[in-house]
């Protein structure tokens, strides 16, 4: 009887450990904003992805309603179906520069490197700014996995749960912004 209890205890412990090991570590979304100047503010936000997930549930209807990716002014918009078709082709191409625009003192590039889509915007001059966005290829897949004019937020979030590292970095003349995900609170 005693031996049976010990085995039952060990089995229960092993199962609990197995369940704990099988669960992915809880991710945290971090946002840092550091302004420059005399009245500069530093803002730091740390949110568990579980809370972000709930907050994002409020968004799908808005995206579904508007449902279009805006490119420049209102006259030049791309439907999500068009974006899906273009992405399907680009995805097959592997590493490459998708877009490079040099206009005046502004340089924009969108490229794929491995499993990341890298967006860089460099603006020189008085209001110099450097924007760097890293989007995992799987995240774009997830975003465009909906149908019609829907962006699949749930699938995006599932991918974000797996993502660790920087998502957005902006270096501006008046503020630096960094958004990233890791396992630390």
């Amino acid at each position: 009887m005693e031996r049976a209890r010990i085995w039952a205890g060990l089995l229960a412990f092993g199962m609990a450990a197995g369940v704990a090991a099988a669960q992915p570590p809880a991710g945290w979304l971090h946002v840092r904003v550091e302004e420059s100047g005399a009245k500069a503010a530093k803002v730091s936000v740390n949110l568990p992805l579980s809370v972000v997930e709930v907050a994002l549930k409020a968004a799908p209807e808005t995206l579904e309603h508007k449902g279009r990716i805006k490119l420049g002014d209102d006259k030049h918009q791309m439907s999500l179906d068009d974006a899906r078709r273009i992405w399907a082709e680009l995805r097959k191409a592997g590493d490459m520069d998708f877009v490079t625009v040099d206009q005046g003192d502004e340089h924009v590039s969108v490229a794929r490197k491995g499993e990341l889509v890298l967006v860089h915007v460099n603006k020189a001059g008085q209001k110099a700014e450097e924007v760097s966005v890293e989007v995992p290829v799987d995240l774009v897949d997830a975003m465009l996995s909906g149908t019609g004019d829907e962006i699949n937020l749930q699938a995006m979030l599932t991918q974000l749960q797996k993502r660790r590292g920087d998502i957005v970095r902006v270096k501006g003349d008046d503020a630096n912004v960094r958004v990233w995900i890791d396992d630390q609170n």
Binding site: V43, S44, P48, V51, V54, K57, N185
Partner: protein
């Protein structure tokens, strides 16, 4: 005989104090700055506050909510529950030249601290209370349950405000 009478006389206040102590007391402590400043302490047994809250008319315990806001109430509840389940952490920190705002999740409380040249504000909000105060889809909330939720935050400074000129207001649940 005298001992029995004394015991009987003492039993009532002792039982009352024990009941109040067991169910909790909210103490409002107001201290004015300066040598002539008043010091007012108002203890309010939670039991009495809960009984009083039960008499709040139904129409006063109903919020008129924008339909869009009402639609998102279940999500707000879910977000608070997710926050309650999350480990302790610093959720927000805003540092400015003369002001610091920190919002932390500590146990089952949300702690908000604001420090500026003019004043210091510390607020501890029990997450249980937030869940009780959040109205249902019809806009109704239960004031009595909200007061009762304070019982889960005993020995907590709910609010403490200190001004630069020495005024202080403190609300504590014991």
């Amino acid at each position: 005989m005298m001992m029995k009478i004394a015991a009987a006389v003492l039993a009532v206040p002792v039982a009352a104090v024990a009941t109040i102590g067991a169910t909790g007391v909210v103490v409002v402590d107001v201290r004015e700055g300066g040598p002539q400043g008043h010091h007012i302490v108002v203890p309010m047994p939670l039991l009495a506050a809960r009984a009083a809250a039960a008499f709040v008319p139904a129409d006063k315990a109903r919020l008129k909510l924008d339909p869009e806001a009402a639609r998102h109430l279940p999500l707000a509840r879910e977000a608070v529950e997710a926050l309650a389940a999350a480990p302790d952490c610093e959720l927000v920190r805003v540092e400015q030249q003369d002001e610091l705002v920190v919002i932390r999740k500590e146990g089952q409380k949300l702690s908000v601290n604001v420090r500026s040249e003019r004043e210091e504000v510390h607020v501890n909000v029990p997450l249980d209370m937030v869940l009780e105060v959040l109205p249902g889809p019809d806009g109704r909330f239960d004031p009595s349950a909200a007061v009762a939720a304070l019982g889960s935050a005993r020995f907590t400074d709910l609010v403490e405000v200190k001004s630069a000129d020495g005024d202080r207001v403190k609300i504590t649940v014991y």
